[in-house]
């Protein structure tokens, strides 16, 4: 149960300032109408509803928010963002929260989703483009779920939807440079 007597004050709330600054969104403007959660197609799978995420940010509940399932379950469909009467881009705040969560080193509330994103980015880094088969093999080597969708994969292969080898092209080197600079922190 949240303490409703806590004052919402940005000056004494480092988490609110941090998220507001990184996202550029006015989180204080949320007055809990719950329209975001009512329209969210994946709310049923979340542990903290979108409106509650905003409230918890207002209450400086950093760890609770950054270790929630919600921030990873959000599918970035932007339904909440377009319906918010206070024009808060909630989907964008979810992006901010995900990157803060990764940088905080906190245990993520969903195991496989952050792994997927990291494998996806590794595939871009090494190949420049997403080669779906390489992506799937990499992901499976991390999640150890080798049987999942194996039958479907075979069906798709027979339909000519699975390309066996990545394309050959020349843009890959520049991509590696972008990643290397980001990893060194040079472009932040």
């Amino acid at each position: 149960m949240m303490d409703l007597n806590v004052q919402v004050n940005q000056k004494e709330n480092p988490f609110l300032s941090e998220v507001a600054q990184a996202s550029g969104e006015k989180i204080q403007a949320c007055y809990q109408c719950q329209k975001c959660s009512a329209g969210c197609p994946v709310a049923y799978a979340m542990d903290i509803l979108p409106n509650q995420i905003l409230r918890r940010i207002q209450y400086n509940h950093r760890e609770k928010v950054l270790t929630s399932k919600t921030i990873w379950i959000c599918a970035s469909c932007y339904t909440c963002s377009v319906r918010c009467p206070n024009n808060i881009d909630i989907a964008k705040i979810m992006d901010t929260l995900r990157s803060l969560a990764l940088r905080s080193g906190a245990e993520p509330g969903e195991k496989d989703i952050p792994v997927f994103h990291s494998v996806f980015l590794d595939t871009i880094k090494s190949k420049g483009r997403i080669h779906e088969l390489s992506l799937i093999i990499q992901l499976k080597s991390k999640t150890k779920d080798f049987l999942k969708d194996a039958g479907l994969g075979w069906k798709m292969f027979r339909k000519g939807k699975i390309k066996l080898l990545p394309s050959r092209f020349g843009g890959g080197k520049e991509i590696q440079e972008i990643f290397n600079e980001f990893e060194k922190g040079a472009r932040r």
């Binding site: 377009v82 990157s99 420049g128 080669h131 390309k163």
Partner: protein, 283 residues
């Protein structure tokens, strides 16, 4: 002859090959010359913007810089790539964001559905239509990023868009009204929380069946994959029979224009569209 740059994106070189083939085929019939961007790379997709906004901007900007050098309008068939490109365009143009690659936001970036729904192109389609899709009941599925967020897409009717419906009517099809036009299919959660995608996609398929659509039409390779490939799995789970082909809008333009490769495109689908199209006398 109209000349434009073309960024296919990763999916169209893999699971969405029929979308790529049908765009190229239809463009040729409509006198549009596509120039694939040289050495294009991944736009960064969900994984980049979900985890590192700055990296996401650079990955997209590299492609936009190539397109700007060629100084042609840029056609983007994957709505996820399109959404990323438009977000970066907005950052650069409206918020004076500095990017590493020489990109200033000077070329129009067009999503394929919006592009083919433009007045002059619709006129051209109308002129060249040889086989009206009479008797075909289609449910137009726009999905999320085609319309949202409107500050990025510029679509005004984002809760009840009509442009694909208008295109379908022009092709001679009957576009049925339904309430899930812009509901989410679960998108990239398919690789990790397939249960969520099954639930969301199942809801869409059931509703399309309820309004008695013969097929569902989309312009998003991710929605297509989620809806096309998991029907058998869903049938086992729910006992409901779907058998609902998911078509790219460009495939239907191709069918109406009498493109000779339509069968090749349709053969790549997991849920077979040929049976129902033949039954309607369209193939």
């Amino acid at each position: 002859m109209k000349e434009i740059s073309y960024y296919p994106g990763c999916s169209l070189h893999g699971t969405a090959r029929e979308y790529d083939d049908s765009i190229r085929g239809v463009s040729k019939l409509l006198d549009i010359q596509l120039y694939e961007l040289e050495d294009w790379t991944c736009c960064g997709a969900s994984s980049a913007h979900c985890t590192d906004e700055e990296l996401a901007i650079e990955l997209a900007a590299r492609n936009l810089a190539i397109a700007e050098k060629n100084d042609r309008e840029l056609l983007v068939p994957c709505v996820a790539c399109y959404s990323r490109f438009k977000a970066v365009e907005k950052e650069v143009k409206e918020h004076s964001k500095k990017v590493h690659f020489p990109y200033r936001g000077n070329i129009p970036i067009r999503y394929s559905l919006d592009f083919f729904c433009d007045g002059p192109i619709l006129e051209e389609i109308k002129k060249k239509r040889v086989k009206p899709l009479s008797g075909l009941k289609v449910a137009c599925y726009y999905g999320c990023l085609t319309v949202r967020p409107p500050k990025v897409t510029g679509i005004r009717e984002y809760e009840n868009p009509q442009h694909m419906d208008r295109l379908m009517k022009l092709l001679g099809a009957d576009s049925v009204p339904w309430s899930y036009k812009t509901d989410c299919c679960g998108a990239s959660l398919v690789m990790t929380r397939t249960d969520i995608v099954r639930r969301l996609s199942g809801k869409l398929l059931s509703m399309a069946k309820e309004v008695e659509a013969d097929c569902l039409v989309t312009g998003c390779p991710m929605c297509h994959a989620n809806l096309d490939t998991r029907q058998e799995e869903l049938e086992k789970e729910t006992g409901e029979k779907y058998n609902l082909p998911i078509l790219y809008f460009t495939e239907l333009i191709g069918l109406a224009l009498g493109h000779r490769d339509v069968k090749k495109w349709f053969n790549r689908h997991i849920t077979d569209p040929i049976k129902i199209l033949s039954a309607k006398g369209l193939m």
